[in-house]
Amino acid sequence: MSKKTTVVIGIGNADRGDDAIGLLVARRLRERLHPDVLVHESTGDPADLMARWGSGLRVIAVDAIIIGSEVGTIHVIDACEINSSSAMFRSQSTHAFGLAEAVALARALGTLPSEFAIVGIEAQSFGVGDELSPPVASALAGAVQAVERLLVSEQDSKQEKIHA
Protein backbone atom coordinates (compact mmCIF):
# COMPACT_ATOMS: atom_id res chain seq x y z
CA MET A 1 0.00 0.00 0.00
CA SER A 2 1.40 3.42 -0.91
CA LYS A 3 2.49 5.50 2.04
CA LYS A 4 1.74 8.77 0.22
CA THR A 5 -1.85 9.14 1.31
CA THR A 6 -2.02 12.72 2.53
CA VAL A 7 -1.91 15.97 0.58
CA VAL A 8 -1.44 19.34 2.25
CA ILE A 9 -2.52 22.25 0.08
CA GLY A 10 -1.64 25.79 1.06
CA ILE A 11 -4.05 28.19 -0.64
CA GLY A 12 -3.59 31.88 -1.19
CA ASN A 13 -2.04 34.81 -2.98
CA ALA A 14 1.49 35.73 -2.00
CA ASP A 15 0.94 39.38 -2.97
CA ARG A 16 -2.25 40.12 -1.00
CA GLY A 17 -1.32 40.58 2.63
CA ASP A 18 -2.92 37.97 4.90
CA ASP A 19 -3.98 35.92 1.89
CA ALA A 20 -0.41 34.61 1.77
CA ILE A 21 -0.74 32.69 5.05
CA GLY A 22 -1.84 29.39 3.45
CA LEU A 23 1.16 29.44 1.12
CA LEU A 24 3.59 30.27 3.93
CA VAL A 25 2.30 27.39 6.05
CA ALA A 26 2.81 25.03 3.10
CA ARG A 27 6.37 26.28 2.55
CA ARG A 28 7.26 25.88 6.22
CA LEU A 29 5.88 22.31 6.18
CA ARG A 30 7.83 21.43 3.07
CA GLU A 31 11.03 22.48 4.84
CA ARG A 32 10.29 20.08 7.66
CA LEU A 33 10.47 17.14 5.27
CA HIS A 34 7.53 14.86 5.89
CA PRO A 35 8.42 12.13 3.39
CA ASP A 36 4.98 10.57 3.14
CA VAL A 37 3.14 13.83 2.75
CA LEU A 38 2.74 15.77 -0.50
CA VAL A 39 2.73 19.54 -0.08
CA HIS A 40 1.22 21.79 -2.75
CA GLU A 41 0.55 25.47 -3.18
CA SER A 42 -2.52 26.71 -5.00
CA THR A 43 -4.18 29.97 -5.91
CA GLY A 44 -7.50 28.38 -4.99
CA ASP A 45 -8.85 27.90 -8.51
CA PRO A 46 -11.33 25.00 -8.12
CA ALA A 47 -10.03 23.11 -11.17
CA ASP A 48 -6.48 23.37 -9.83
CA LEU A 49 -7.50 22.31 -6.30
CA MET A 50 -9.45 19.35 -7.56
CA ALA A 51 -6.52 18.22 -9.72
CA ARG A 52 -4.15 18.49 -6.74
CA TRP A 53 -6.20 16.60 -4.24
CA GLY A 54 -6.89 13.78 -6.67
CA SER A 55 -8.90 10.85 -5.41
CA GLY A 56 -8.46 8.55 -2.49
CA LEU A 57 -6.16 11.00 -0.71
CA ARG A 58 -6.65 12.54 2.67
CA VAL A 59 -6.50 16.29 2.31
CA ILE A 60 -5.54 19.10 4.65
CA ALA A 61 -6.12 22.54 3.13
CA VAL A 62 -4.75 25.71 4.69
CA ASP A 63 -6.33 29.06 3.89
CA ALA A 64 -7.08 32.52 5.23
CA ILE A 65 -10.67 32.73 6.47
CA ILE A 66 -13.08 35.35 7.74
CA ILE A 67 -15.66 34.08 10.21
CA GLY A 68 -15.60 36.89 12.71
CA SER A 69 -13.28 35.42 15.32
CA GLU A 70 -10.26 37.22 16.70
CA VAL A 71 -7.67 37.81 13.98
CA GLY A 72 -4.99 35.13 14.11
CA THR A 73 -7.30 32.46 15.53
CA ILE A 74 -6.63 29.03 14.06
CA HIS A 75 -9.67 26.91 13.25
CA VAL A 76 -9.74 23.26 12.22
CA ILE A 77 -12.83 22.62 10.14
CA ASP A 78 -14.23 19.50 8.54
CA ALA A 79 -14.89 20.20 4.86
CA CYS A 80 -18.24 18.44 5.18
CA GLU A 81 -19.41 21.43 7.19
CA ILE A 82 -18.97 23.97 4.42
CA ASN A 83 -21.00 24.64 1.32
CA SER A 84 -20.63 26.98 -1.62
CA SER A 85 -22.44 29.78 0.11
CA SER A 86 -19.90 29.84 2.93
CA ALA A 87 -18.69 33.39 3.12
CA MET A 88 -15.79 32.41 5.29
CA PHE A 89 -13.24 31.75 2.59
CA ARG A 90 -11.80 34.97 1.41
CA SER A 91 -11.75 34.94 -2.34
CA GLN A 92 -9.49 37.55 -3.84
CA SER A 93 -10.29 36.78 -7.40
CA THR A 94 -12.85 38.71 -9.38
CA HIS A 95 -13.71 35.26 -10.69
CA ALA A 96 -15.00 34.59 -7.17
CA PHE A 97 -14.09 30.90 -7.18
CA GLY A 98 -12.27 29.46 -4.22
CA LEU A 99 -12.00 26.61 -1.77
CA ALA A 100 -15.69 26.56 -0.83
CA GLU A 101 -16.71 26.31 -4.49
CA ALA A 102 -14.12 23.59 -5.08
CA VAL A 103 -15.46 21.54 -2.16
CA ALA A 104 -19.07 22.03 -3.29
CA LEU A 105 -18.22 21.10 -6.86
CA ALA A 106 -16.30 18.00 -5.81
CA ARG A 107 -19.15 16.97 -3.54
CA ALA A 108 -21.61 17.38 -6.44
CA LEU A 109 -19.36 15.26 -8.65
CA GLY A 110 -18.87 12.62 -5.95
CA THR A 111 -15.11 13.16 -5.95
CA LEU A 112 -14.62 14.84 -2.58
CA PRO A 113 -11.97 12.98 -0.58
CA SER A 114 -13.58 11.32 2.43
CA GLU A 115 -11.14 12.84 4.89
CA PHE A 116 -10.77 16.55 4.33
CA ALA A 117 -9.73 18.96 7.05
CA ILE A 118 -9.29 22.68 6.66
CA VAL A 119 -6.94 24.70 8.80
CA GLY A 120 -8.29 28.25 8.60
CA ILE A 121 -6.50 31.28 9.98
CA GLU A 122 -8.72 34.28 10.74
CA ALA A 123 -7.36 37.11 8.61
CA GLN A 124 -8.06 40.81 8.28
CA SER A 125 -6.18 42.64 5.59
CA PHE A 126 -5.58 41.85 1.95
CA GLY A 127 -3.89 44.91 0.56
CA VAL A 128 -2.01 44.46 -2.68
CA GLY A 129 1.72 44.15 -1.97
CA ASP A 130 1.27 44.11 1.82
CA GLU A 131 3.00 41.87 4.36
CA LEU A 132 1.03 39.67 6.75
CA SER A 133 -0.70 41.63 9.48
CA PRO A 134 1.02 41.07 12.87
CA PRO A 135 -1.62 38.77 14.42
CA VAL A 136 -1.64 36.56 11.32
CA ALA A 137 2.16 36.49 11.18
CA SER A 138 2.14 35.36 14.83
CA ALA A 139 -0.25 32.56 13.93
CA LEU A 140 2.05 31.00 11.33
CA ALA A 141 3.85 28.66 13.74
CA GLY A 142 0.59 27.61 15.36
CA ALA A 143 -0.99 26.85 12.00
CA VAL A 144 1.97 24.68 11.04
CA GLN A 145 1.59 22.82 14.34
CA ALA A 146 -2.15 22.37 13.74
CA VAL A 147 -1.40 20.65 10.43
CA GLU A 148 1.30 18.50 12.04
CA ARG A 149 -1.12 17.44 14.79
CA LEU A 150 -3.59 16.35 12.11
CA LEU A 151 -0.84 14.38 10.38
CA VAL A 152 0.21 12.70 13.63
CA SER A 153 -3.36 11.75 14.47
CA GLU A 154 -3.60 10.12 11.05
CA GLN A 155 -0.44 8.17 11.82
CA ASP A 156 -1.86 7.11 15.19
CA SER A 157 -5.10 5.90 13.67
CA LYS A 158 -3.13 3.99 11.02
CA GLN A 159 -1.05 2.35 13.77
CA GLU A 160 -4.24 1.41 15.60
CA LYS A 161 -5.57 -0.22 12.46
CA ILE A 162 -2.38 -2.21 12.04
CA HIS A 163 -2.33 -3.39 15.66
CA ALA A 164 -6.04 -4.15 15.97
Partner: protein
Protein backbone atom coordinates in the same frame (compact mmCIF):
# COMPACT_ATOMS: atom_id res chain seq x y z
CA UNK B 1 -47.41 56.27 -17.31
CA UNK B 2 -46.27 52.84 -16.12
CA UNK B 3 -42.57 52.44 -15.51
CA UNK B 4 -40.90 49.12 -14.71
CA UNK B 5 -37.31 48.69 -13.70
CA UNK B 6 -35.25 45.51 -14.07
CA UNK B 7 -32.26 45.70 -11.82
CA UNK B 8 -29.50 43.16 -11.32
CA UNK B 9 -27.12 44.39 -8.66
CA UNK B 10 -24.28 42.05 -9.37
CA UNK B 11 -24.22 39.93 -12.49
CA UNK B 12 -23.14 36.39 -11.72
CA UNK B 13 -21.10 34.11 -13.96
CA UNK B 14 -19.28 36.89 -15.74
CA UNK B 15 -15.71 37.82 -15.06
CA UNK B 16 -15.53 41.12 -13.19
CA UNK B 17 -18.11 43.39 -11.72
CA UNK B 18 -20.89 45.02 -13.62
CA UNK B 19 -24.51 45.91 -13.31
CA UNK B 20 -27.42 46.21 -15.67
CA UNK B 21 -30.19 48.77 -15.50
CA UNK B 22 -33.17 48.58 -17.84
CA UNK B 23 -36.11 50.97 -17.73
CA UNK B 24 -39.39 50.10 -19.40
CA UNK B 25 -42.10 52.74 -19.81
CA UNK B 26 -45.52 51.62 -20.95
CA UNK B 27 -44.07 48.43 -22.42
CA UNK B 28 -41.38 50.31 -24.38
CA UNK B 29 -37.72 50.12 -23.52
CA UNK B 30 -36.74 53.59 -22.37
CA UNK B 31 -33.21 52.89 -21.26
CA UNK B 32 -30.56 50.13 -21.24
CA UNK B 33 -27.33 50.61 -19.37
CA UNK B 34 -24.56 48.11 -18.81
CA UNK B 35 -22.94 49.71 -15.77
CA UNK B 36 -19.34 48.72 -15.45
CA UNK B 37 -18.31 49.70 -11.96
CA UNK B 38 -15.25 47.51 -11.84
CA UNK B 39 -12.71 50.18 -10.95
CA UNK B 40 -10.66 51.53 -13.84
CA UNK B 41 -7.19 50.12 -13.68
CA UNK B 42 -5.17 52.72 -15.54
CA UNK B 43 -2.81 50.33 -17.30
CA UNK B 44 -2.49 52.69 -20.25
CA UNK B 45 -1.30 55.37 -17.84
CA UNK B 46 1.19 53.47 -15.76
CA UNK B 47 2.78 51.83 -18.79
CA UNK B 48 4.19 55.27 -19.60
CA UNK B 49 7.80 55.46 -18.46
CA UNK B 50 8.23 51.67 -18.43
CA UNK B 51 10.77 49.91 -20.64
CA UNK B 52 9.43 48.24 -23.78
CA UNK B 53 10.67 44.83 -22.56
CA UNK B 54 8.27 44.96 -19.60
CA UNK B 55 5.19 45.12 -21.76
CA UNK B 56 4.31 41.38 -21.86
CA UNK B 57 4.74 41.02 -18.11
CA UNK B 58 2.78 44.13 -17.20
CA UNK B 59 -0.10 43.69 -19.64
CA UNK B 60 -0.46 39.99 -18.76
CA UNK B 61 -1.73 41.23 -15.38
CA UNK B 62 -4.75 42.70 -17.07
CA UNK B 63 -6.25 39.22 -17.30
CA UNK B 64 -5.89 35.96 -15.43
CA UNK B 65 -7.86 33.98 -18.02
CA UNK B 66 -6.41 35.45 -21.22
CA UNK B 67 -2.89 36.64 -20.36
CA UNK B 68 -1.47 35.20 -23.60
CA UNK B 69 -3.73 37.46 -25.64
CA UNK B 70 -2.31 40.51 -23.88
CA UNK B 71 1.24 39.27 -24.14
CA UNK B 72 0.93 38.51 -27.85
CA UNK B 73 -0.79 41.75 -28.85
CA UNK B 74 1.75 43.71 -26.80
CA UNK B 75 4.93 42.05 -28.09
CA UNK B 76 3.70 42.23 -31.68
CA UNK B 77 3.02 45.94 -31.27
CA UNK B 78 6.59 46.47 -30.03
CA UNK B 79 8.02 44.28 -32.81
CA UNK B 80 6.03 46.32 -35.28
CA UNK B 81 7.52 49.51 -33.82
CA UNK B 82 11.08 48.18 -34.16
CA UNK B 83 10.55 46.62 -37.59
CA UNK B 84 11.46 43.15 -36.26
CA UNK B 85 10.89 40.12 -38.48
CA UNK B 86 9.76 37.15 -36.42
CA UNK B 87 10.72 33.79 -37.96
CA UNK B 88 8.08 31.20 -38.69
CA UNK B 89 9.19 28.77 -35.95
CA UNK B 90 8.60 31.40 -33.26
CA UNK B 91 5.29 32.43 -34.81
CA UNK B 92 4.13 28.80 -34.77
CA UNK B 93 5.05 28.50 -31.09
CA UNK B 94 3.03 31.63 -30.36
CA UNK B 95 0.06 30.12 -32.15
CA UNK B 96 0.49 26.92 -30.12
CA UNK B 97 0.49 28.60 -26.72
CA UNK B 98 -2.48 30.70 -27.82
CA UNK B 99 -4.38 27.45 -28.67
CA UNK B 100 -3.90 26.47 -25.03
CA UNK B 101 -5.54 29.70 -23.95
CA UNK B 102 -8.49 29.29 -26.32
CA UNK B 103 -9.07 25.75 -25.02
CA UNK B 104 -9.06 26.69 -21.33
CA UNK B 105 -10.98 29.94 -21.72
CA UNK B 106 -13.70 28.47 -23.93
CA UNK B 107 -14.07 25.35 -21.75
CA UNK B 108 -14.48 27.51 -18.67
CA UNK B 109 -17.07 29.74 -20.31
CA UNK B 110 -19.10 27.03 -22.02
CA UNK B 111 -19.55 24.76 -19.03
CA UNK B 112 -19.14 26.92 -15.95
CA UNK B 113 -20.44 30.31 -16.97
CA UNK B 114 -22.95 29.80 -19.79
CA UNK B 115 -24.37 26.25 -19.92
CA UNK B 116 -26.13 26.68 -16.55
CA UNK B 117 -28.30 29.42 -18.14
CA UNK B 118 -29.62 27.12 -20.84
CA UNK B 119 -30.35 24.27 -18.47
CA UNK B 120 -31.95 26.34 -15.74
CA UNK B 121 -29.22 25.96 -13.13
CA UNK B 122 -28.07 28.74 -10.82
CA UNK B 123 -24.45 27.76 -11.21
CA UNK B 124 -22.05 25.06 -12.30
CA UNK B 125 -22.27 23.32 -8.93
CA UNK B 126 -25.99 22.72 -9.44
CA UNK B 127 -25.22 21.63 -13.01
CA UNK B 128 -22.58 19.21 -11.69
CA UNK B 129 -25.09 17.36 -9.51
CA UNK B 130 -27.20 16.39 -12.53
CA UNK B 131 -24.51 16.30 -15.21
CA UNK B 132 -21.33 15.16 -13.43
CA UNK B 133 -19.76 13.69 -16.57
CA UNK B 134 -20.12 16.96 -18.47
CA UNK B 135 -18.50 18.95 -15.67
CA UNK B 136 -15.68 16.42 -15.22
CA UNK B 137 -15.07 16.69 -18.96
CA UNK B 138 -14.94 20.49 -18.63
CA UNK B 139 -12.44 20.36 -15.79
CA UNK B 140 -10.12 18.04 -17.69
CA UNK B 141 -10.45 20.07 -20.90
CA UNK B 142 -9.61 23.28 -19.03
CA UNK B 143 -6.64 21.59 -17.38
CA UNK B 144 -5.23 20.44 -20.74
CA UNK B 145 -5.43 24.00 -22.07
CA UNK B 146 -3.68 25.21 -18.94
CA UNK B 147 -1.03 22.46 -19.22
CA UNK B 148 -0.17 23.62 -22.73
CA UNK B 149 0.21 27.18 -21.44
CA UNK B 150 2.41 25.97 -18.56
CA UNK B 151 4.57 23.89 -20.91
CA UNK B 152 5.28 26.80 -23.25
CA UNK B 153 4.81 29.75 -20.94
CA UNK B 154 6.23 28.56 -17.65
CA UNK B 155 2.94 28.93 -15.79
CA UNK B 156 -0.68 29.42 -16.76
CA UNK B 157 -1.38 32.58 -14.80
CA UNK B 158 0.78 35.42 -16.15
CA UNK B 159 3.18 33.25 -18.20
CA UNK B 160 6.84 34.15 -17.83
CA UNK B 161 8.39 32.81 -21.02
CA UNK B 162 7.09 35.39 -23.50
CA UNK B 163 9.27 38.31 -24.54
CA UNK B 164 9.43 40.97 -27.22
CA UNK B 165 11.23 39.15 -30.04
CA UNK B 166 10.06 35.64 -29.15
CA UNK B 167 10.50 33.51 -26.05
CA UNK B 168 13.12 33.19 -23.35
CA UNK B 169 13.33 29.46 -24.04
CA UNK B 170 11.92 27.35 -26.85
CA UNK B 171 10.91 23.78 -25.98
CA UNK B 172 12.49 20.66 -27.44
CA UNK B 173 10.31 18.43 -29.61
CA UNK B 174 10.51 15.78 -26.90
CA UNK B 175 9.04 18.17 -24.33
CA UNK B 176 5.90 18.64 -26.40
CA UNK B 177 5.23 14.92 -26.97
CA UNK B 178 3.73 14.15 -23.55
CA UNK B 179 0.79 16.44 -24.32
CA UNK B 180 -0.22 14.69 -27.53
CA UNK B 181 -2.40 11.99 -25.91
CA UNK B 182 -4.11 14.59 -23.72
CA UNK B 183 -4.77 16.83 -26.74
CA UNK B 184 -6.31 13.92 -28.64
CA UNK B 185 -8.61 13.29 -25.69
CA UNK B 186 -9.33 17.04 -25.59
CA UNK B 187 -10.25 17.08 -29.28
CA UNK B 188 -12.77 14.27 -28.68
CA UNK B 189 -14.06 16.03 -25.56
CA UNK B 190 -14.47 19.20 -27.60
CA UNK B 191 -16.47 17.28 -30.24
CA UNK B 192 -18.66 15.95 -27.44
CA UNK B 193 -19.03 19.56 -26.27
CA UNK B 194 -20.30 20.62 -29.70
CA UNK B 195 -22.87 17.81 -29.56
CA UNK B 196 -23.85 18.77 -26.02
CA UNK B 197 -24.28 22.48 -26.79
CA UNK B 198 -26.23 21.72 -29.97
CA UNK B 199 -28.99 20.13 -27.87
CA UNK B 200 -29.65 23.26 -25.84
CA UNK B 201 -32.69 25.47 -26.40
CA UNK B 202 -32.02 28.72 -28.18
CA UNK B 203 -34.25 31.81 -28.35
CA UNK B 204 -34.94 32.84 -31.91
CA UNK B 205 -32.87 36.02 -32.21
CA UNK B 206 -30.66 37.07 -35.11
CA UNK B 207 -29.57 40.72 -35.04
CA UNK B 208 -27.90 42.14 -38.11
CA UNK B 209 -24.42 42.56 -36.65
CA UNK B 210 -21.42 43.99 -38.36
CA UNK B 211 -18.87 41.29 -37.57
CA UNK B 212 -15.24 42.35 -37.10
CA UNK B 213 -12.36 39.87 -36.89
CA UNK B 214 -8.88 39.16 -38.13
CA UNK B 215 -8.51 37.37 -41.44
CA UNK B 216 -5.51 35.48 -42.76
CA UNK B 217 -4.93 34.00 -46.23
CA UNK B 218 -4.69 30.41 -45.01
CA UNK B 219 -5.27 30.12 -41.26
CA UNK B 220 -8.25 30.49 -38.96
CA UNK B 221 -7.17 33.72 -37.27
CA UNK B 222 -5.54 33.64 -33.86
CA UNK B 223 -2.26 35.55 -33.87
CA UNK B 224 -2.13 37.39 -37.19
CA UNK B 225 -4.17 38.88 -39.98
CA UNK B 226 -5.80 41.94 -41.46
CA UNK B 227 -8.85 43.41 -39.75
CA UNK B 228 -11.98 42.73 -41.79
CA UNK B 229 -15.71 43.13 -41.34
CA UNK B 230 -18.90 41.71 -42.78
CA UNK B 231 -19.66 45.13 -44.28
CA UNK B 232 -16.54 45.47 -46.36
CA UNK B 233 -13.87 46.73 -43.97
CA UNK B 234 -10.45 45.33 -44.90
CA UNK B 235 -7.54 47.13 -43.27
CA UNK B 236 -4.05 46.58 -41.98
CA UNK B 237 -3.79 46.54 -38.18
CA UNK B 238 -1.87 49.82 -38.38
CA UNK B 239 -5.01 51.56 -39.69
CA UNK B 240 -7.22 50.53 -36.73
CA UNK B 241 -7.44 53.97 -35.17
CA UNK B 242 -8.46 55.56 -38.45
CA UNK B 243 -11.62 53.46 -38.41
CA UNK B 244 -12.44 52.77 -34.77
CA UNK B 245 -12.97 55.22 -31.94
CA UNK B 246 -13.41 54.81 -28.19
CA UNK B 247 -15.58 57.03 -26.08
CA UNK B 248 -16.32 57.39 -22.44
CA UNK B 249 -19.98 57.00 -21.44
CA UNK B 250 -21.23 58.18 -18.05
CA UNK B 251 -22.56 54.80 -16.91
CA UNK B 252 -19.46 52.75 -17.53
CA UNK B 253 -15.84 52.73 -16.41
CA UNK B 254 -15.07 50.80 -19.59
CA UNK B 255 -14.81 52.77 -22.79
CA UNK B 256 -17.30 52.04 -25.58
CA UNK B 257 -15.81 51.35 -28.97
CA UNK B 258 -17.47 52.23 -32.30
CA UNK B 259 -16.73 52.03 -35.99
CA UNK B 260 -16.49 55.67 -37.02
CA UNK B 261 -18.50 54.98 -40.15
CA UNK B 262 -21.27 52.83 -38.73
CA UNK B 263 -21.38 52.50 -34.95
CA UNK B 264 -21.72 49.26 -33.00
CA UNK B 265 -19.98 46.08 -34.10
CA UNK B 266 -19.35 42.57 -32.83
CA UNK B 267 -16.05 40.81 -32.14
CA UNK B 268 -15.43 37.30 -30.82
CA UNK B 269 -16.30 33.75 -31.81
CA UNK B 270 -19.39 34.57 -33.92
CA UNK B 271 -17.43 37.21 -35.84
CA UNK B 272 -14.39 34.98 -36.40
CA UNK B 273 -16.60 32.09 -37.45
CA UNK B 274 -18.70 34.14 -39.87
CA UNK B 275 -15.66 35.70 -41.53
CA UNK B 276 -13.37 32.65 -41.56
CA UNK B 277 -15.49 29.49 -41.67
CA UNK B 278 -13.61 28.06 -44.64
CA UNK B 279 -10.33 28.22 -42.70
CA UNK B 280 -11.59 25.91 -39.94
CA UNK B 281 -10.26 22.36 -40.14
CA UNK B 282 -12.52 19.84 -41.96
CA UNK B 283 -13.34 18.16 -38.64
CA UNK B 284 -14.37 21.45 -37.04
CA UNK B 285 -16.45 22.42 -40.10
CA UNK B 286 -18.20 19.05 -40.00
CA UNK B 287 -18.86 19.37 -36.28
CA UNK B 288 -20.47 22.76 -36.96
CA UNK B 289 -22.65 21.29 -39.73
CA UNK B 290 -23.67 18.37 -37.54
CA UNK B 291 -24.75 20.93 -34.93
CA UNK B 292 -26.96 22.51 -37.63
CA UNK B 293 -24.83 25.65 -37.83
CA UNK B 294 -24.49 27.40 -41.18
CA UNK B 295 -21.21 29.11 -42.15
CA UNK B 296 -22.63 32.35 -40.76
CA UNK B 297 -24.43 32.32 -37.42
CA UNK B 298 -26.12 35.50 -36.20
CA UNK B 299 -27.78 34.14 -33.10
CA UNK B 300 -25.71 35.29 -30.11
CA UNK B 301 -27.17 32.53 -27.92
CA UNK B 302 -25.60 30.01 -30.28
CA UNK B 303 -22.18 31.49 -29.57
CA UNK B 304 -21.88 28.65 -27.06
CA UNK B 305 -21.86 26.16 -29.95
CA UNK B 306 -19.40 28.28 -31.90
CA UNK B 307 -17.06 28.38 -28.91
CA UNK B 308 -17.22 24.59 -28.80
CA UNK B 309 -16.40 24.40 -32.53
CA UNK B 310 -13.43 26.73 -31.96
CA UNK B 311 -12.29 24.47 -29.13
CA UNK B 312 -12.29 21.51 -31.54
CA UNK B 313 -10.23 23.62 -33.94
CA UNK B 314 -7.78 24.72 -31.23
CA UNK B 315 -7.15 21.11 -30.16
CA UNK B 316 -6.58 20.00 -33.76
CA UNK B 317 -4.38 22.97 -34.48
CA UNK B 318 -2.30 22.31 -31.36
CA UNK B 319 -1.79 18.70 -32.48
CA UNK B 320 -0.82 19.85 -35.97
CA UNK B 321 1.63 22.42 -34.65
CA UNK B 322 3.25 19.93 -32.28
CA UNK B 323 3.63 17.35 -35.08
CA UNK B 324 5.24 19.94 -37.35
CA UNK B 325 7.35 21.65 -34.69
CA UNK B 326 10.99 22.40 -35.45
CA UNK B 327 12.74 24.32 -32.64
CA UNK B 328 13.83 27.79 -33.79
CA UNK B 329 17.56 28.47 -34.09
CA UNK B 330 17.22 31.06 -31.39
CA UNK B 331 14.29 31.50 -29.03
CA UNK B 332 14.12 35.21 -29.80
CA UNK B 333 15.42 37.68 -32.37
CA UNK B 334 17.57 40.74 -31.68
CA UNK B 335 15.75 44.06 -31.76
CA UNK B 336 16.75 47.43 -33.21
CA UNK B 337 15.28 49.73 -30.57
CA UNK B 338 14.30 53.12 -31.97
CA UNK B 339 11.81 55.91 -31.41
CA UNK B 340 8.67 54.67 -33.11
CA UNK B 341 5.00 53.73 -32.79
CA UNK B 342 3.78 50.18 -33.30
CA UNK B 343 0.46 48.36 -33.39
CA UNK B 344 -0.46 44.76 -32.63
CA UNK B 345 -3.79 42.94 -32.85
CA UNK B 346 -4.57 39.32 -32.05
CA UNK B 347 -7.72 37.26 -31.47
CA UNK B 348 -8.24 36.82 -27.75
CA UNK B 349 -10.85 34.15 -26.95
CA UNK B 350 -13.39 36.99 -26.68
CA UNK B 351 -12.38 38.85 -29.82
CA UNK B 352 -9.78 41.19 -31.26
CA UNK B 353 -7.43 42.82 -28.79
CA UNK B 354 -5.61 45.89 -30.11
CA UNK B 355 -2.45 47.44 -28.61
CA UNK B 356 -0.54 50.50 -29.72
CA UNK B 357 2.62 51.88 -28.13
CA UNK B 358 4.84 54.84 -28.78
CA UNK B 359 8.40 54.44 -27.52
CA UNK B 360 11.37 56.81 -27.50
CA UNK B 361 14.93 56.17 -28.70
CA UNK B 362 15.80 54.46 -25.38
CA UNK B 363 12.84 52.11 -25.69
CA UNK B 364 10.85 53.84 -22.94
CA UNK B 365 7.09 53.81 -23.47
CA UNK B 366 5.69 57.29 -24.00
CA UNK B 367 2.10 56.32 -24.48
CA UNK B 368 -0.05 53.24 -24.73
CA UNK B 369 -3.49 52.33 -26.02
CA UNK B 370 -5.16 49.01 -25.24
CA UNK B 371 -8.60 48.14 -26.62
CA UNK B 372 -9.98 44.88 -25.20
CA UNK B 373 -12.70 42.89 -26.97
CA UNK B 374 -15.27 43.42 -24.27
CA UNK B 375 -15.16 47.22 -24.57
CA UNK B 376 -15.68 46.77 -28.29
CA UNK B 377 -18.77 44.64 -27.67
CA UNK B 378 -20.42 46.86 -25.07
CA UNK B 379 -22.60 48.81 -27.52
CA UNK B 380 -23.76 45.52 -29.07
CA UNK B 381 -24.49 44.04 -25.66
CA UNK B 382 -26.75 47.00 -24.95
CA UNK B 383 -28.36 46.85 -28.42
CA UNK B 384 -29.13 43.14 -27.95
CA UNK B 385 -30.70 43.82 -24.59
CA UNK B 386 -32.82 46.60 -26.02
CA UNK B 387 -34.12 44.30 -28.75
CA UNK B 388 -34.64 41.30 -26.49
CA UNK B 389 -36.53 43.25 -23.86
CA UNK B 390 -38.72 44.88 -26.53
CA UNK B 391 -39.67 41.45 -27.88
CA UNK B 392 -40.19 39.89 -24.47
CA UNK B 393 -41.59 42.81 -22.54
CA UNK B 394 -44.58 40.85 -21.22
CA UNK B 395 -42.52 38.09 -19.62
CA UNK B 396 -42.71 37.90 -15.83
CA UNK B 397 -39.92 39.88 -14.21
CA UNK B 398 -37.84 36.90 -13.06
CA UNK B 399 -37.87 35.27 -16.52
CA UNK B 400 -37.07 38.56 -18.23
CA UNK B 401 -34.21 39.13 -15.86
CA UNK B 402 -32.82 35.62 -16.49
CA UNK B 403 -33.03 36.25 -20.24
CA UNK B 404 -31.16 39.55 -19.91
CA UNK B 405 -28.42 38.02 -17.83
CA UNK B 406 -28.11 35.10 -20.22
CA UNK B 407 -27.85 37.60 -23.08
CA UNK B 408 -24.96 39.42 -21.41
CA UNK B 409 -23.24 36.08 -20.85
CA UNK B 410 -23.53 35.32 -24.60
CA UNK B 411 -20.59 37.69 -24.91
CA UNK B 412 -18.44 35.97 -22.28
CA UNK B 413 -17.65 39.49 -21.14
CA UNK B 414 -14.40 40.06 -19.38
CA UNK B 415 -15.28 43.05 -17.35
CA UNK B 416 -11.93 43.33 -15.59
CA UNK B 417 -10.30 43.58 -18.98
CA UNK B 418 -12.89 46.02 -20.24
CA UNK B 419 -12.16 48.48 -17.47
CA UNK B 420 -8.51 48.57 -18.20
CA UNK B 421 -21.11 39.45 -11.69
CA UNK B 422 -23.61 41.79 -13.10
CA UNK B 423 -26.02 43.95 -11.29
CA UNK B 424 -29.24 44.14 -13.31
CA UNK B 425 -31.99 46.58 -12.52
CA UNK B 426 -35.18 46.29 -14.51
CA UNK B 427 -37.09 49.49 -14.01
CA UNK B 428 -40.62 48.71 -15.08
CA UNK B 429 -43.90 50.46 -14.49
Amino acid sequence: MATKVIKVDMLARVEGEGALHIKIRDREVAEVKLNIFEPPRFFEAFLRGRHYSEVPDITARICGICPIAYQMSSVQAMENAFGAEIPSAIRQLRRLIYCGEWIESHALHIYFLHAPDFLGYEDAIALAKDHPDAVKRALRLKKIGNDLMILLGGREIHPINVRVGGFYRAPLRSELQPLVEDLKWARDAALETVRFTATLNFPDFEPDYEFVALSHPTDYPITEGRIVSSRGLDIDVSEYEQHFVEEHVPHSNALHSHLKARGAYLVGPLARYALNFSKLSPLAQQAARDAKLKPICRNPFKSIIVRAVETVYACEEALRLIAAYEPPEKASVPLAVRAASGQGCTEAPRGILYHRYRVDAQGIIRDAKIVPPTSQNQPSIEDDLRQLVTRNVDLPADKLQWLCEQSVRNYDPCISCATHFLKLTLDRA
